[in-house]
């Protein structure tokens, strides 16, 4: 019954993935317009980031540029990719947490070259050529609702600890574990492939999670909501920025950065070749990368600004390399095989 449920769910999501490429219009999650109604020009931005997290940045940017307005379209990373790659939708800036899909857009020639000052402001590891730059970094974390655990349970410090914890407290976790569905979520797929690159422990964890009827989600937000209302006890691979922004101490949820390795993601931005006013996209990008923009992002997400120092002082934070190596797992055959393996691991009898 459990297996059938997971499989059916997966099949539906797989179908929607397959169909998304041929759909006439990409699906958006939310849309909002910032700025004065009488603004002379409007910047169109397509992003995976929640509008709530972006609002302070939009307001600060428009305060500096009162003649502009800003149309913010939020979509999943798959849809963001499809919007540019397949549908050639006109946006002036595209930001996404799915580094691999952004890399594919840039590799396939869908991004415009950025001016030298923007490129030179980025360290080598935070950009690819002059086409793609990182605007923020954040860890991918493990969330644990400690209030649901027995008193005095030590917090897991690594995946090995986590596997032990899940085995020891199977009744508590049964049906109350959440993680990304890599079939529909670009970011979830990226995190899993990076997990697999770092260590084989992800496969053992998948087996354990599969036995505990793990539920699959499209987005970090839904998992956090599940933790807050008690549906979930644990969420694996959640965007750190969302966790910090939405959880309060009263929720009794611990944010854990596993010490064996914690994948660190870069939010990347590109000006697509479909842009009708690339100058505005670049202006917004300059603002996002400026000290002020970085400070606002850091405050909104609770994450440190883009900084190489982080990786030196916290060696367990493992940055995802921003290079065409990311494209390997996007290959249809490789992706199919990887997802099949993942589903098989999760589908333990």
């Amino acid at each position: 019954m459990r297996n059938t449920l997971v499989s059916t769910f997966g099949l539906i999501l797989a179908l929607s993935w397959a169909l998304s490429g041929t759909a006439l219009a990409f699906e958006i999650e939310d849309e909002r317009r910032f700025g004065a109604p009488n603004a002379t020009r409007e910047i169109a931005i397509l992003s995976t980031t929640d509008i709530a997290l972006f609002s302070p940045l939009a307001e600060a940017f428009l305060a500096r540029n009162p003649t502009l307005s800003l149309r913010y379209v939020q979509a999943t990373s798959q849809q963001v990719h499809a919007a540019i790659d397949t549908e050639r939708a006109a946006f002036d800036l595209v930001t996404s947490s799915a580094m691999d899909l952004q890399m594919k857009l840039a590799n396939d020639g869908f991004s415009l070259p950025l001016p030298a000052d923007v490129i030179n402001a980025s360290p080598d590891w935070a950009r690819w050529r002059d086409r793609l730059v990182a605007i923020a970094q954040e860890p991918v974390v493990l969330l644990l609702a400690t209030r649901a655990l027995p008193e005095g349970t030590p917090l897991p410090r690594s995946r090995r600890d986590l596997i032990a914890l899940l085995r020891d407290n199977a009744p508590i976790f049964e049906g109350r574990i959440g993680t990304y569905n890599p079939v529909i979520s670009g970011a979830g797929f990226l995190f899993l492939t990076q997990d697999a690159r770092m260590s084989d422990s992800i496969w053992r964890l998948a087996e354990v999670m599969g036995r505990l009827n793990t539920r699959l989600f499209c987005c970090s937000g839904d998992m956090i909501a599940g933790l807050r209302n008690g549906d979930l006890v644990m969420a694996y691979n959640v965007l750190g920025s969302y966790a910090v922004a939405r959880l309060t101490p009263e929720d009794g949820v611990q944010v854990i950065l596993p010490e064996d390795f914690t994948i660190t993601l870069q939010r990347t931005a590109l000006v697509p070749s479909t842009s009708t006013q690339p100058d505005l996209g670049i202006a917004l990008l300059r603002f996002l990368m400026s000290p002020e923009g970085q400070a606002i992002q850091a405050q909104a997400t609770g994450q440190p600004p883009l900084d190489a120092e982080t990786f030196r002082t916290q060696p367990h934070l493992r940055p995802i390399r921003l290079d065409p190596g990311l494209l390997a797992h996007l290959d249809t055959m490789t992706r199919t095989r990887f997802l099949a393996e993942w589903t098989a691991a999760l589908d333990q009898p």
Binding site: N107, D108, G109, W128, R129, T193, R197, R321, D323, P324, G325, L326, L327, A328, H329, D331, T332, M333, T334, R337, F338
Partner: protein, 468 residues
């Protein structure tokens, strides 16, 4: 017009040796710099292309080998490391394509196919444009058992080569900068080389020009082997010239002797005969004979004077000549001739000693001819003013007569050989006097002017450079 221009071009002086050397050396270094640039550019491009092709081919073969047959198809696991490595140099873009049984199954289905059929062991490399990029592609073919049937597999991996091109260009630019530097250094170096090469020639020229005009000794100059033939020829030429000059000198002396002596004898014989002759017709004949002899002697003297002037002007003797003493002596010598015509010779000399450098024999001949002319063309009972005075860095000697003037002719006309004035009348002369004066003044680097005086007569002025 064009013919004239051609002639002008043909007549143009050949370019100087220094210029030729410098131009050739600079052109050579420019060619070398260009060759360096092209060689480095091509070399860098070839080397980096070969290296990158090796990596691309190995990656393609590795991917083809990783392909495994599974039930109902094939299974592929692309390694992120391979892609990272392929993109590493210069952040290249990567594309790939996998065909099973002639159908694209994964990757970029529209990636250009190879023209040749690749095998499993060696990759086929080719270039093709794709989307907005120029790609370098590697293709590998193999065969895979799928559902018990051998199925052909084609793996294509492509990368852009912008970084490689940028690096090759950078190397070539460095080579170009180096070439330019070599070229720039070559300019002063070739000037230096030209100077060094031409120095022996300049030394030889200096050694030859330093010699006096009558120095006809052979040139003993240590010239490089290449210049030795020139020195030998020069010495041979000098030897021939010396022989010729000696012969000329001898000839002039002989001629003077052979003409003057018989004329003098003839004249004295005629004078004796005149004194002894009684009848008037014979005396008239003898007188005309004496006048003819006189005329011949004068002409012979002038011809010899002129020959002497020509010969001695070549020799360029540098005697110190006291112009005052010489002028006074000449005026003394012409005293009896002037007395015969009842003429006065008024001489005005400066108190200082005015000396010039030159051939004393020549200068005396010039002054003699000038005084002779003044006396010859002046009427009886007139005065010839002769004055010598310092004029700046020159000594100015003027001879003014009250004769018939120049008759509208110029010095240039009158100083031509055997050319006499239109107003000479019955006065005897050879037309060589003024030629001698003009040639002498040229030899001593002085100046000669001949002008009409306002109140009739001629003024001849000579400027001699004063010796320091």
């Amino acid at each position: 017009m064009s013919r004239r221009m051609n002639r002008n071009m043909n007549q143009r002086r050949p370019a100087s040796l220094r210029r030729r050397l410098v131009v050739q050396l600079i052109a050579l270094s420019a060619v070398l710099a260009l060759i360096l640039y092209v060689a480095v550019r091509l070399g860098a491009e070839r080397a980096s292309e070969a290296t990158l092709d090796g990596i691309l081919g190995a990656a393609t073969i590795a991917i083809a080998e990783e392909l495994r047959s599974v039930e109902g198809g094939a299974e592929l696991e692309l390694s992120p490391g391979t892609f990272s490595m392929l993109a590493a140099m210069g952040e290249e873009r990567i594309f790939h394509r996998l065909d099973l049984g002639g159908h694209a199954v994964t990757g970029y289905a529209d990636l250009p196919l190879p023209t040749a059929t690749p095998t499993a062991l060696t990759a086929v490399f080719y270039n093709a444009p794709y989307r907005d990029a120029e790609l370098r592609l590697a293709a590998v073919g193999r065969s895979l058992m799928i559902d018990n049937r051998p199925t052909p597999v084609l793996v294509i991996v492509a990368q852009t080569r912008e970084g490689q091109r940028a690096i090759a260009q950078q190397l070539a630019n460095r080579a170009a900068a180096l070439g330019l530097a070599v070229f720039l250094i070559a300019v002063p170096l070739s000037l230096l080389a030209a100077g060094t090469l031409l120095r022996p020639i300049a030394r030889l020229a200096e050694a030859v020009s330093r010699r006096g005009g009558h120095d006809l000794r052979p040139v003993h100059h240590r010239a490089p082997a290449e210049l030795q033939p020139l020195v030998e020829q020069l010495n041979a030429f000098i030897a021939r010239l010396r022989t010729t000059l000696t012969q000329t000198e001898t000839f002039i002396a002989e001629a003077a002797h052979h003409i003057r002596t018989p004329l003098a004898t003839l004249r004295s014989e005629a004078e004796i005969a005149l004194r002894q002759a009684q009848d008037e017709p014979t005396r008239v004949q003898l007188r005309s004979m004496i006048r003819a002899t006189e005329e011949s002697a004068r002409s012979a003297n002038q011809l010899l004077d002129h020959a002497t002037v020509l010969f001695r002007a070549e020799q360029q003797a540098q005697d110190k000549v006291d112009l005052g003493v010489m002028t006074a002596a000449l005026v003394d010598r012409f005293g009896p001739t002037a007395d015969l015509k009842d003429m006065q010779l008024a001489l005005s000399l400066p108190s200082e000693r005015l000396e010039t450098k030159g051939d004393a024999v020549l200068i005396e001949a010039a002054l003699r001819n000038l005084l002779d002319n003044a006396l010859k063309y002046s009427p009886a009972d007139s005065t010839v003013d002769i004055s010598l005075i310092r004029d700046g860095i020159n000594a100015r000697l003027s001879v003014q007569d009250q004769g018939r003037g120049l008759g509208g002719e110029t010095l240039a006309d009158l100083s031509q050989r055997f050319r006499r004035g239109v107003n000479v009348g019955q006065v005897v002369g050879s037309g060589l006097g003024l030629t001698i004066v003009a040639e002498t003044m040229a030899a001593v680097q002085g100046r000669f002017e001949l002008t009409d005086r306002e109140d009739g007569g001629t003024c001849a002025t000579l400027w001699f450079p004063l010796s320091v």
